[in-house]
């Protein structure tokens, strides 16, 4: 006898309905394809439950298990595929009809976090209450519960993030591509310095104009860099860019200004290259320190994310991130340490005579790096505060000297004068930037050791 493949929708309703139709022979039509008369609207809620129960109780084991064996959903039965079980032969009775389902949906069952997930997945893969009844279950839910109980959970921890396998050449190429925007400030600065050098014989107005244009180009490039990557737009307002502008401006002209003020000046506006206090090497070195800084910040963010995925607890994560932060800062420190003397060499100037000049550039670079790192991880307020504090110290130093010109206020300028006498004019920015950078780094250690500072942002880069 051919096994029944067409079910009767609402068998009980059909039986109670008026005059069930005569059933044709099994050869001409599938077994029980019944059609009821237009069924009266029923209360629809309770029927499947009771029907499923009936099916579970009333199904003979023979055909039910045959269905379970041959017709377990999951693979569409292809036409022409031989029917499981020869016609007329006694169907094999598997001892465990759930086993076939289990092996077919093993991945779903192993991944599931609770039985309802298995039930939803099974339904979506075409398992119905009929299949569940074949497995001697009341409905899909109880079937899912059995599957959930029987299939071992996939508790293996997720593998640590594996970077997508890329060839060396591809990695170099992508690194180069992402480095291009960060090289723009350096390029603009180099072009400006070159233009100024070639315009050495021109009138001071021309030199000033070239310098201003170059400064604008570098500023635009810096702005472009700041808009990229993690924490973009985190600067919040104008105080951040203003502080950065002041700090860089002081690095270029501050020493000249302080010297002039100390000596009763300034008598004239600075030219693009004040004698004896050429800011070009510092500017060039700072601009070329942008790509290393971006790389270090990116490296830190990536390693921190990896630590995020690998750490079992917040304390462990903090313990992993702190050395990372120190390493990132130390790595970045190498950049100005190399770039500042190199820029002087390239520009053909004498090497740093005093330790203070090198320290001024280096501390400013570290300050900017720390501020960027903090801002990128959601602490823009702290970053701006650190930058503004450094600005204030520098501005106060200059103002103190000016105030000292008032009668009776000599004492105000005494610390500045003493420092400049001892260490040269660079002592002021060194003190300001170093203190601010240290403060920011001290702030960054607990702040960046928090897990919430590393919430994945939309832009994964930098």
């Amino acid at each position: 006898m051919k096994r029944p493949r067409t079910t009767t929708p609402g068998r009980s309703a059909a039986e109670s309905g008026p005059a069930p139709q005569s059933v044709p022979t099994p050869e001409s039509r599938p077994g029980g394809a019944a059609e009821g008369a237009p069924a009266a609207p029923r209360e629809a809620g309770s029927r499947p439950r009771t029907r499923a129960g009936e099916a579970a109780v009333g199904t003979e084991p023979g055909p039910a298990t045959a269905d379970a064996q041959g017709e377990v959903p999951g693979q569409p039965v292809r036409p022409g595929q031989p029917e499981p079980g020869p016609e007329g032969a006694a169907p094999r009775v598997p001892a465990d009809p759930v086993k076939a389902l289990m092996s077919r949906h093993r991945e779903l069952c192993a991944r599931a976090v609770d039985p309802l997930e298995i039930a939803a997945g099974l339904e979506e893969r075409g398992v119905t209450d009929r299949t569940a009844a074949d497995c001697r279950h009341r409905d899909v839910f109880t079937l899912a519960e059995e599957l959930y109980a029987r299939v071992p959970r996939e508790n293996a921890p997720e593998a640590d993030i594996v970077a997508p396998e890329r060839s060396c050449w591809a990695r170099v190429r992508s690194a180069a591509r992402s480095a291009v925007p960060y090289s723009l400030p350096g390029a603009a600065c180099a072009a400006t310095v070159a233009a100024l050098a070639s315009a050495g014989a021109q009138a001071p107005e021309v030199r000033t104009g070239v310098g201003a244009c170059g400064a604008a180009a570098v500023a635009a490039a810096l702005w472009f860099c700041a808009r990229r990557g993690r924490g973009r737009g985190a600067g919040g307002g104008v105080s951040g860019p203003l502080s950065v502008g002041w700090l860089i401006g002081y690095a270029l002209f501050g020493d000249w200004l302080l010297t002039e003020v100390l000596h009763g000046g300034p008598d004239a506006l600075p030219t693009a290259a004040p004698a004896g206090h050429d800011g070009a090497p510092t500017a060039l070195a700072l601009a070329f320190a942008v790509p290393p800084g971006a790389w270090c910040a990116h490296w830190f963010a990536v390693r921190a994310r990896r630590a995020l995925a690998g750490s079992r607890g917040l304390a462990e994560f903090a313990g992993r991130v702190r050395p990372l932060l120190a390493a990132a800062v130390a790595l970045f420190l190498c950049a100005p340490a190399v770039l500042l003397p190199a820029a002087r060499l390239v520009l053909g100037e004498r090497p740093y005579a005093a330790w203070g000049d090198l320290a001024a550039g280096g501390s400013l670079a570290v300050l900017l790096f720390a501020a960027r790192l903090l801002a990128a991880h959601g602490f823009a307020g702290a970053a701006v505060a650190g930058l503004a504090a450094a600005c204030c110290v520098e501005a106060l130093a200059v103002c103190a000297v000016l105030i000292a010109r008032l009668p009776g206020c000599d004492a105000v300028a005494r610390p500045v004068t003493a420092a400049v006498t001892a260490e040269g004019p660079a002592a002021v920015p060194v003190a300001a930037c170093t203190a601010a950078a240290l403060a920011l780094l001290v702030r960054a250690v607990p702040a960046l050791a928090r897990a919430s500072a590393h919430t994945p942002s939309r832009s994964g880069r930098l």
């Binding site: 394809a33 059609e35 499947p48 039965v77 939803a120 075409g126 959970r153 994310r305 917040l314 919430t455």
Partner: protein
């Protein structure tokens, strides 16, 4: 400091406001919000003492504690993303009784979970909480206080405003789920669909994240069901899921979706379609009336499939079945009319089916794919008029709209036994097991060869559809449900005249209609008038959000919020809130007497 972890369960031990920060209202952009809610999670409730009731209670108090925090201090999203929330979640995951998967959560998993919570709970931060105005909040109040009945047309986060209204103002809540939200969430886990908030980029969410998320979703669904005065669903299949999710059997009603709203075949499809809903062909009252008794005018050789093309429709199986049909009936042809479902892989699936069809049936015109953007039928009803037998080959279905449409058009149907198919077809068509091309083919051949039987089945199907699946019936059902709910709810803010006597009819229901209600088109009958308050003209399954129907200038603040911020959490759009207001006389029948 406020801490907010509802994570899989929040519970609140609400302490006093702490120090200077406590109670100071701060904006969302302010510093760490001062608050007084400390929520601690207890994960894996099955092992907890006291069982699920205890856990649900802890979850509910935590949830409403967070709502109070959002109301009093603001800054809830910030608090949920703060380090302290992560710390609390970690403590909850390590607490005794937590499930093994939660115990294995890495820090990245904790972050992903707090992000999920923050997004899911964003509706708590909107300006719902405004108290009623001087006249009882009935005129223009921005908050939920002026609402008489909340009707959430989806579960989960979409029902959060309803929960708040219930909690803070005692407003009754009606929940309608056409596709059960919890089931949709589970399916999304299965398919890795919502991986975009996963911390670690590659691969799906980790087991820990999925476990925490499932616990949260399950508890939220249970809380919604518990708070709802009545829960309606589209079919018994959904009802079973709702009961599994914690809905009280006595409060679940099946309200079949009504067809009859003018859906155009070529209308742009959007992700707004709830899971499991199929895009019906155009069907309006006129076309339903025009269709003949069915079966008489078909050509006796055309099989018709309609719907949204997606892998779950098993068109491959249908094509194989059709090959068998062709072997028996060489003149048979197959028309597939519909559109591509807005889901991943659907387009590729269509291409695969086309290729398969071209391979199986080299003769031109045997199988025709008529997609919405392609040359479709001249009139949607033509597709049904020319088809002899409507076929549904899905392996998974929610409420089968295409089947109901075929029934409206008086077509005999052959469908697979999935979802609510049995319930819809009710004996007026043939039902075969899913993924069984042989059975499908045999049934189709059988019907193709028996025009008389086809006509009889079609007429029966048409009668059944007109009895059960009309928009009028749906509207009337909701009308009755609304009246029933408000009849059981205490009257708030009743109007009184100068002598202190109750004043019936003081606030007509039309006062709540966005825009100028007197300019509304005239409509006849109470049901029709009722329908005009509803978003999109009635609680038909694919109504637009309430705010979409209102003129832009008249959308109240809370409704704007619901449209903007509320609908993001799960990536399952289609959740809507229709806040319904019923007239005063309806709420006080005893005064009319």
């Amino acid at each position: 400091m406020a801490a907010a972890v509802a994570g899989a369960s929040a519970a609140a031990s609400r302490g006093a406001p702490t120090g200077a920060r406590g109670g100071a209202p701060r904006g969302a952009s302010g510093g760490a919000p001062g608050g007084d809610t400390e929520s601690r999670g207890g994960l894996g409730g099955s092992e907890d003492p006291g069982g699920s009731a205890w856990l649900a209670d802890r979850f509910a108090s935590g949830l409403y504690g967070l709502a109070e925090l959002a109301r009093d201090a603001g800054g809830l999203p910030r608090a949920l993303r703060s380090e302290q929330a992560v710390r609390l979640l970690e403590a909850a995951c390590r607490a005794p009784g937590a499930s093994n998967r939660a115990r294995g959560a890495r820090v990245g998993d904790l972050l992903a979970t707090t992000a999920l919570l923050e997004r899911a709970l964003r509706p708590l931060s909107l300006d719902w909480y405004e108290e009623a105005g001087g006249d009882g909040g009935r005129s223009g109040g921005r908050g939920l206080a002026g609402v008489d009945l909340c009707h959430a047309t989806a579960g989960g986060p979409a029902a959060l405003p309803g929960l708040l209204a219930k909690r803070f103002f005692g407003t009754p809540l009606l929940v309608t789920e056409h596709a059960v939200w919890l089931r949709g969430r589970y399916l999304a886990y299965c398919d890795h669909l919502d991986r975009h908030d996963h911390a670690c980029g590659s691969g799906g969410p980790s087991p820990a994240v999925r476990s925490l998320r499932a616990a949260f979703h399950g508890l939220l669904a249970a809380e919604v069901y518990a708070a709802a005065a009545l829960i309606t669903c589209a079919d018994a299949h959904a009802r079973r899921w709702q009961e599994r999710g914690g809905a009280d059997r006595a409060r679940v009603r099946v309200v079949h979706p009504g067809l009859g709203a003018p859906f155009a075949l070529g209308a742009p499809l959007s992700l707004d379609a709830p899971l499991g809903l199929d895009a019906p062909l155009g069907l309006d009252a006129a076309s339903v009336a025009d269709v003949g008794e069915g079966g008489a005018d078909d050509d006796g050789r055309t099989l018709l499939w309609t719907g949204l093309i997606a892998p779950a429709k098993d068109l491959v199986g249908l094509l194989h079945a059709f090959a068998l049909v062709r072997a028996a009936e060489p003149a048979a042809r197959l028309r597939l009319v519909g559109a591509v479902a807005p889901e991943r892989g659907a387009v590729a699936y269509l291409e695969r089916c086309r290729a398969l069809a071209a391979g199986l049936f080299p003769e031109k015109g045997t199988v025709s794919f008529e997609m919405a953007e392609g040359p479709g039928p001249a009139h949607p009803a033509d597709a049904y008029a020319q088809g002899s037998v409507a076929v549904l080959s899905s392996v998974a279905e929610g409420f089968p709209f295409s089947l109901a449409e075929a029934m409206f058009h008086g077509r005999a149907t052959v469908s697979t036994d999935v979802g609510a198919v049995r319930e819809v077809i009710g004996g007026t068509g043939l039902v075969v097991p899913p993924r069984d091309p042989h059975a499908l083919a045999e049934s189709c051949v059988e019907l193709l060869r028996a025009p008389e039987r086809r006509a009889r089945l079609g007429a029966a199907a048409r009668a059944r559809a007109q009895e059960l699946f009309t928009a009028e019936r749906n509207t009337a059902a909701f009308h009755g449900i609304y009246l029933e709910i408000v009849a059981h709810c205490p009257v708030r803010g009743a109007s009184v005249d100068t002598d202190g006597q109750p004043l019936p009819f003081a606030r007509p229901a039309e006062a709540h209609v966005p825009g100028h209600w007197s300019a509304a088109p005239p409509s006849s009958g109470r049901a029709a008038r009722f329908r005009q308050w509803l978003p999109g003209g009635g609680p038909a399954p694919r109504t637009r959000p309430a705010t979409a129907a209102a003129p832009a200038g008249h959308v109240p603040g809370w409704a704007r919020g619901a449209a903007d911020g509320g609908g993001d959490a799960a990536g399952a759009p289609g959740r809507r809130l229709a806040a319904e207001a019923l007239s005063a006389p309806a709420r006080r029948p005893e005064e009319d007497a």
